[in-house]
Symmetry: C2
Subunit: 274 residues, 2 copies
């Protein structure tokens, strides 16, 4: 594990996530990418499109002192895109038209006009809204859609706001945010192996697992019961390690998996290590 963890909290905004109408793939994608580049995701929260709720959740998150707060959703032009209003309220900043953000929007709408997507080129109030950023914020170029991402330095914490449209969120993350996080985490290697187990139930594995966990505190081991079918219990056990040195993490993860495989076999279970 890196010496100084870069702790991240992910906030996704949208009523459709709280009614279950939309599956929160944004939160998963961000969590996976942040983990891949060495960050540590401590918490994920979903809130609805409401200024007070957004402001509250941002203040709560900041009080826990993370290195990064990543917000997805609520940056668009419509009445219920309220993320930046929430940021402004939560951190007592004014919303001001950002020149660079406005220039980004100008370029986008001019392109759309040339391509015939819109009938005439104009910067309406709804469009300028996307350039109204909390004072001190930096816009991040949206390579896919219109609304720029927003980066705001809150002393020891970096707040990043991304659009909720998945392709736009991913585009801005890959183009701008990834580097900002990776610079802080440095190089971290992650390694995983999976043990597929049959013929033994999870409660019988539990005490064996606990012993291995005690011997390999640097390896995270998680069992996922897959149910019992035809009288046979199936469990998937995942082993994950992270380290600054590639060789070490591979050895430790593999060794932990092999040792558990051995004791499970002894107890009559069949195992497959992948």
């Amino acid at each position: 594990m890196p010496r100084e963890e870069q702790v991240c909290e992910i906030i996704t905004v949208g009523n459709e996530l709280l009614t279950g109408r939309t599956l929160n793939t944004n939160s998963q994608w961000l969590a996976e990418r942040i983990t891949q580049i060495g960050g540590f995701v401590r918490r994920c929260v979903v809130v609805r499109d409401n200024v007070i709720e957004i402001a509250e959740i941002l203040k709560e998150a900041l009080r826990r002192n993370p290195n990064f707060i990543i917000v997805a959703g609520g940056l668009g032009p419509t009445y219920d895109d309220l993320t930046l209003d929430g940021v402004a309220k939560g951190f007592k900043r004014r919303l001001v038209v950002n020149k660079r953000a406005l220039q980004m929007l100008r370029t986008k709408y001019r392109q759309m006009w040339k391509k015939g997507v819109i009938e005439k080129y104009e910067l309406t109030e709804a469009r300028i809204k996307m350039a109204r950023l909390p004072s001190g914020a930096i816009p991040l170029l949206n390579p896919v859609g219109t609304a720029p991402g927003v980066l705001l330095n809150l002393d020891s914490c970096i707040l990043a706001c991304l659009p909720g449209v998945p392709s736009e969120m991913k585009g801005i993350f890959e183009e701008s945010l990834k580097q900002v996080i990776a610079e802080r985490t440095g190089r971290v290697f992650s390694y995983s192996r999976t043990l597929n187990v049959e013929g033994i139930v999870e409660s019988s594995i539990a005490p064996l697992l606990e012993k291995i966990v005690g011997r390999f505190p640097d390896v995270y081991i998680k069992s996922h019961p897959q149910g019992i079918e035809g009288g046979i219990s199936r469990i998937r056990i995942e082993f994950t390690g992270r380290s600054r040195t590639k060789g070490r993490v591979k050895v430790r993860v593999s060794k932990a998996a092999q040792e558990l495989a051995k004791v499970i076999r002894k107890r009559g279970g069949s195992v497959e290590l992948v």
Copy 2:
């Protein structure tokens, strides 16, 4: 909308959700079901398998005074199944072996033994762990797996803990928890319509949308841009209403959708109402 909203908060527990290894379908399923039976999901949170984190998040949730806190994950027999430890710590309850829960486990393991899933019938420490509930809690029968669900009355709030295995979570919810929530919400009708729009960008719809929203405050309207392909912008707009009377909600939702469709058509967009 019902006069007294039954506010629910959903907490899902598991490191695999925070590394992005697992997509959080549990949270979506619970949100959708709770909404369907008339509840209002205000917040969803994901935390890792850590007693202190779980205890903290539970206390935070309770401070916001919801009617229900629903937790999924961390009820199993292994070392990192820590939800009940978190409940005990957060709400200062002792963990005690619950007689009814123990009886449920006895029945389960006896069945497994008879079916040859386990070699011998015994209540090991790992199995008894699943019957150690916070004092005052009620076990909920798990119709699919072993770990019982847990219901705990916290004065004005009901806390329910469900296993993280999706089939078990759903089984307990449908068998026991659904009724508890539905009894409080009473009968609520929900109605939705979708408007598929082409040839107009979201920022052009924004001011039209805002007017309709002002005229139909009881209808929730959300636009989802689907991107621009071949020079044509596509947007899906969803209209949702909830009411105690079926007729009223249908009329209001349909009327809001039709009125927006009309003004979008006037502006040159093509619409399809489904």
